[in-house]
């Protein structure tokens, strides 16, 4: 089975075979095995062993962590990718989405206005928590569609602060491209 893994802004083709995985045409002996009773999975890759914390956040969506490094991965198989490219369906999240409060806090400033184009990583709201000012940033480029908070408002963890729309329609409909 061949999978397309979108991770760290890149795409990897990983073909799973009986003897291991084929990545970029190279066959490597590989196996992943959960460590029972933990959120950890042990990856054997050739003669190396690495332990990842692996969590599924939605179907085909994974969060992996290793020694404090963290990745989000979207995994689709070849057929799904093909179907998506034909139907134009797919993950259209790139450049769109909700900016949520990562913690409870107080909105000190709203840095954007509706209709404004923002870049990935641009601050949209300044939230005060633990007596520290924290700039909440846009996860991707987009256009501010709605602002759900105002200055001085207390917000809960996970509350939507700002909604971003994609700045341009995703090309080709293939969210994985």
């Amino acid at each position: 089975m061949k999978y397309f893994v979108e991770l760290a802004g890149r795409q990897f083709e990983v073909e799973i075979e009986a003897a291991g995985v084929r990545v970029d045409g190279e066959l490597v002996p590989a196996a992943l095995e959960p460590l029972p009773g933990t959120p950890l999975q042990q990856l054997r890759l050739g003669d190396r062993t690495l332990v990842f914390a692996v969590e599924s956040t939605a179907r085909g969506e994974w969060v992996l962590a290793y020694r404090g490094e963290r990745w989000e991965a979207a995994v689709v198989d070849e057929r799904t990718r093909h179907v998506r490219s034909l139907t134009g369906e797919g993950r259209q999240k790139v450049g769109a989405g909700e900016v949520k409060a990562p913690m409870p806090g107080l909105v000190l400033r709203v840095l954007v206005v509706p209709g404004q184009q923002v870049d990935a990583g641009q601050g949209v709201v300044v939230l005060e928590a633990m007596k520290m000012e924290n700039q909440i940033k846009a996860p991707a480029a987009g256009v501010v569609e709605a602002i759900h908070v105002e200055q001085g408002r207390a917000v809960e963890k996970g509350q939507v602060l700002v909604v971003l729309a994609p700045s341009e329609p995703p090309g080709g409909g293939a969210g994985v491209a």
Binding site: M1, A8, L50, E69, V75, T80
Partner: protein
């Protein structure tokens, strides 16, 4: 004095656990207090008696002097250890404890008060012959006076606003002819920023290190236990501490130690305390302030001097002499501490919260882990963001740094984002490894906050994601995964995928 058999630990988290451990090793019982939010914290389980003192908010629990004294009375504790933070440097708490006929495990309230007023402390230190940053606290009114002062303390000097803060009205002056214009500009800036044109000058210390001296005093002796280097700071929060310091040799240690002992003696100090100094590149050092309590980073001193500072505090409070020998103490080897915090460096060091799903604590030779969290605990926003202190000992600095890298690589924390990766980049950074640090080190190195993982590791993560997805699909739909040629079934699955 009634003998002390039971100690109230008026704190939470790792320091509460640290104190409880010391009590038990000294043969004393420990009474823990906890807020509702902390009812499942390790310090509660470790104690002999534990009493809930209020809601999560510190003002309604850990800062309630009346409640803490009630608990001491109800549980029959004869002494109170305040830890650090919360009420530890509140002279009023020490006084209330003393007034209640209990023993305060710390310095006399008079010493806390004397060191708590920073201007007053500066004056007393100057009188005791402890070097402070040279300068005039009074506003400059005549340029001639400023010139005389500047040439006396030596250039460069810093012009500062008396009402100041935030860099407004501040100017570094390198030569006498720059002084008059700098004073004028600073005064006008200060007037605009603070409505007060008052400016003063003090000695400008270029790229100073933060080096502090540990002091311990019993009824008859005051000794120092060398230095800790704490220059690596972010927003005035220490990030990595070590003992000894690459910048301090035996002669400088003796001079700084003598100054710290003099500072402690000047306020009638008892118990453990720390004098913080700025150390300039030329070896001159200047008193900043004295922390009249046990400090977060005390373990690095313990590891190189073979002393348990908290047990010494308990002994001193019990009226016993400290066990530290007389004479010049020499640090053995090197100790390094990394503060593991629930801050996400990839996200501007945003505080992160969550449920600790899994924790693998580093172990093996020379590794110490001081933490107030175990698996199952929640990391919340009620208290500070320090999850643990990872401390190692090595025979020299290189050895200690290799060991802390090894220990950081063993550490697994699942459930909350931490600065673990940042700490690893920091302790393996060539400039840090060379000891080339000062208090602005992290300001110059935003690159340490986030660095892309290696190609090989990124590829491994992608492979793990693909294998995890494959396993999940097999678990969900064994029939489909098993028969790849079942055309209609896979098409249905693919359509379902596509519609998601």
């Amino acid at each position: 004095m009634t003998p002390i058999t039971r100690v109230l630990v008026a704190n939470r988290g790792e320091i509460a656990l640290r104190i409880i451990r010391a009590c038990h090793e000294e043969g004393l019982e420990a009474v823990a207090v906890y807020s509702v939010a902390d009812r499942l914290s390790p310090h509660v389980r470790a104690s002999d008696l534990a009493v809930e003192i209020g809601p999560a908010a510190p003002s309604e629990s850990y800062l309630r002097i009346d409640r803490l004294l009630d608990v001491a009375r109800e549980t029959g504790a004869q002494a109170v250890h305040p830890g650090y933070g919360f009420l530890a440097e509140r002279a009023a708490f020490a006084e209330a404890v003393e007034a209640a006929g209990l023993v305060w495990i710390g310095p006399p309230s008079t010493a806390i008060r004397a060191m708590g007023d920073k201007t007053e402390a500066r004056r007393r230190m100057r009188a005791a012959g402890v070097p402070v940053v040279p300068g005039a606290d009074a506003p400059i009114t005549e340029i001639a006076v400023a010139l005389a002062l500047a040439s006396e303390m030596g250039y460069p000097v810093m012009v500062k606003a008396t009402a100041g803060g935030g860099g407004k009205g501040m100017r570094v002056v390198h030569a006498p002819d720059e002084l008059a214009p700098a004073l004028a500009t600073a005064a006008s800036e200060a007037l605009k920023a603070f409505g007060d044109p008052g400016v003063y000058i003090e000695k400008f210390i270029e790229r100073p290190r933060h080096v502090e001296i540990q002091v311990l005093a019993d009824a008859t002796r005051t000794v120092h236990l060398g230095e800790r280097e704490c220059s690596v700071q972010r927003r005035h929060q220490k990030v990595v501490e070590e003992a000894p310091s690459v910048a301090v040799d035996a002669a400088l240690r003796a001079r700084m130690g003598a100054a710290a002992v003099a500072a402690a003696a000047a306020v009638g100090y008892r118990s453990a305390g720390t004098c913080e100094f700025l150390l300039a590149a030329d070896g001159s050092f200047y008193f900043l302030e004295m922390n009249t309590r046990i400090q977060v980073e005390h373990p690095v001193t313990e590891l190189v001097y073979g002393v348990d500072l908290v047990r010494e505090q308990l002994r001193i409070a019990c009226g016993l002499p400290m066990t530290v020998p007389d004479g010049v103490l020499v640090p053995n080897g090197w100790a390094v501490e990394c503060r593991i915090t629930s801050e996400d460096p990839a996200n501007g060091f945003m505080p992160s919260t969550g449920h600790l799903e899994f924790l693998r604590v580093p172990a093996g030779p020379g590794v110490r882990w001081d933490s107030g969290f175990e698996v199952g605990n929640d990391v919340t926003l009620h208290y500070d963001s320090m999850v643990a202190k990872l401390i190692v000992w090595g025979r020299d600095r290189d050895d200690a740094l290799r060991r802390i890298v090894r220990a950081l690589d063993e550490l697994v924390i699942v459930g909350v984002a931490t600065n673990q990766g940042f700490q690893r980049r920091l302790v393996t950074d060539p400039a840090f490894a060379a000891g080339d640090i000062d208090i602005q080190f992290l300001d110059r190195r935003p690159d340490l906050a986030a660095a892309p993982p290696s190609e090989a590791l990124t590829r491994a993560a992608a492979i793990a994601a693909a294998l995890a997805e494959d396993a999940a699909r097999r678990a969900r739909k064994p029939a489909i995964a098993a028969s790849d040629d079942d055309h209609s079934a896979w098409l249905a699955a693919a359509r379902a995928e596509g519609r998601r």
